[in-house]
């Protein structure tokens, strides 16, 4: 008799679970089950249910109580706060189209997002930030059905050499980074004015001369990761399919010559007398060929 009741109960729970998966809108019950969401960052385990108060206090003003990016401050902000219910994230270590890892979200919460209204939340404890990551995840069903992508591999950073800086510049031309970022990286390429994000809002490419920090970090590894994974939800694509891991470092080194701060790469560029790329000329002969060249690629 007792087991029968337990069985019936288990059955009921199963049916409820099936029903809940089929609806897109979060119901109150679902919200409660989603609060069981966890985040794993190193040795930390974040619990969504422990973040509710911090989220209300620190996040809901912009990201909204429902995580839809429609908090009361949202109308005043540009770029707009992230809509967590869509589970599309710019700063990832994972391939384009996949979910970020918990560490990725944890890094973003701690670092904040440059050139936006998202500040660094490092003043909160590590545990609180891990809890908030779990809370961010609880807004989308996607985290229940899908695993984050496998993080891209970043080889050990090689030493900066003149050849690598030159080869990086050739890649900048070959991959046509300049179409948006401009020949000198001043965000004035021919396509720069037409760019929109996935919500059809205008968006600007990064101006390398303006800032030392990028949207998703400031280290060489961050820069490497940004162009290899792309920034989902924006026009910035992933280059991982067409740039070899080692060559990607060359591009990192070249991009560092464009930035306002003093860098070793900038010094090398100065010694080389490196000129901005000439888009009317074909890419220099030492341009790395990331893939078999087709005949169509030859200059007319």
């Amino acid at each position: 008799m007792r087991t029968q009741q337990v069985n019936s109960l288990a059955c009921a729970v199963a049916v409820l679970a099936i029903c809940s998966l089929s609806s897109a809108q979060l119901t109150k019950d679902q919200e409660d089950t989603n609060l069981g969401m966890e985040a794993h960052v190193g040795k930390l385990t974040g619990h969504a249910k422990d973040a509710a108060m911090n989220y209300r206090r620190y996040c809901a003003g912009c990201h909204g109580d429902l995580g839809d990016g429609e908090g009361e401050n949202a109308v005043w902000l540009d770029p707009k706060p992230r809509n967590f219910t869509l589970a599309t994230f710019k700063c990832r270590s994972t391939p384009s189209g996949s979910l970020p890892t918990d560490e990725d979200l944890y890094e973003t919460v701690g670092r904040g997002l440059e050139s936006s209204n998202m500040p660094s939340w490092n003043p909160l404890s590590n545990q609180s930030r891990a809890d908030l990551v779990a809370y961010v995840k609880h807004f989308s069903e996607r985290w229940k059905t899908e695993k984050p992508g496998a993080p891209i591999e970043i080889p050990v950073q090689p030493a900066v050499t003149a050849d690598r800086v030159k080869s990086g510049q050739a890649l900048f031309q070959k991959l046509e980074c300049w179409k948006c970022h401009g020949v000198e990286g001043r965000a004035n390429g021919p396509s720069a004015d037409t760019l929109t994000d996935d919500q059809n809002r205008p968006i600007k490419p990064f101006n390398f001369h303006d800032q030392t920090r990028f949207k998703c970090g400031e280290t060489d590894r961050d820069l490497y990761r940004i162009f290899m994974t792309g920034l989902d939800g924006t026009p910035m694509p992933s280059f991982a399919d067409n740039v070899k891991p080692d060559e990607a470092w060359d591009l990192v080194f070249y991009l560092r010559t464009l930035q306002p701060m003093h860098t070793q790469e900038k010094e090398i560029a100065k010694q080389l007398g490196l000129k901005p790329i000439n888009t009317n000329a074909p890419a220099p002969a030492n341009a790395p060929a990331p893939q078999p060249q087709s005949n169509e690629n030859k200059p007319q």
């Binding site: 996607r142 179409k179 280059f239 893939q291 169509e296």
Partner: protein, 250 residues
């Protein structure tokens, strides 16, 4: 004593539901057994004058502008032939399909050529792989934009000139996924992901849906700006059927 009774009622109800689910599911796979036969053919017409298609200025991409110098290209929102045949309409079975859950085995190609998508509209079965190629001497970024928050997810990959094809697949139905290239904002195309067979109308507006077993179906025709139309159709054994659609120009 009251509570356990309630549990039992819920439990029994759930068990019945699950049983019903399992039974219908197994019935579906049984019905899928006979090999598909016959097909549906027809035409899609446009009534009225097609809206003006703007010429595309590709001067920002000289390599592509040169390709189209002799034959300037226009937008392809509504493409109708002289006799009113409407191109790029996807006709698919929206109700009644219970056939093979395996995806179509062919691998269609989505080419970027002359800074245009070829084809402009592509039909796909759920889980059917497709190839993205770049035939241009310039870089493209291929950026499909499924409905945000939906079952398919946007991705965005650079494909420089001469790069190898990208293999991709959509795991859920979606009518339709807009594809764009951020480098060349005039590039626009659609992938229509459906369950089961489909046909895409050609220059004369003709389409053909193959491998459809006899049965009662609802057909849906989708056009990127004119929306959708549906009609019911009954397929008799061993006899091809016809269906025609007419879209009114807006």
């Amino acid at each position: 004593m009251k509570k356990p009774n309630l549990y039992r009622v819920i439990g029994t109800l759930s068990a019945v539901l699950i049983l019903a689910f399992v039974v219908t599911k197994s019935q579906r796979s049984v019905r899928a057994a006979p090999p598909p036969e016959g097909g549906i053919a027809g035409t899609v017409k446009l009534e009225g004058t097609a809206p003006h298609q703007r010429p595309i200025d590709m001067s920002k991409e000289p390599a592509c502008a040169a390709v189209h110098k002799a034959n300037p290209v226009t937008t392809e929102n509504v493409v109708a032939g002289a006799d009113g045949g409407l191109k790029n309409v996807v006709v698919y079975i929206s109700e009644g399909w219970s056939g093979s859950p395996e995806a179509a085995t062919s691998t269609p190609t989505w080419d970027q050529k002359g800074c245009q998508y070829i084809p402009h509209v592509m039909g796909l079965d759920v889980n059917q792989h497709f190839k993205v190629t770049n035939s241009d001497p310039t870089s493209h970024n291929i950026h499909p934009m499924p409905k945000p928050g939906g079952p398919n997810h946007e991705w965005n990959k650079s494909q420089p000139s001469g790069a190898p094809p990208i293999d991709a697949v959509w795991g859920s139905e979606e009518v339709a996924i807009h594809v764009k290239c951020n480098i060349h904002p005039w590039m626009s195309g659609y992938m229509v992901v459906v369950k089961g067979p489909y046909g895409v109308s050609d220059d004369s507006g003709s389409f053909k849906i193959e491998n459809v077993p006899p049965g009662n179906y609802t057909l849906t025709a989708w056009q990127e700006t004119l929306g959708t139309q549906t009609q019911k159709i009954t397929l008799a054994a061993g006899k091809p059927s016809t269906a025609s659609f007419t879209f009114k120009a807006k």
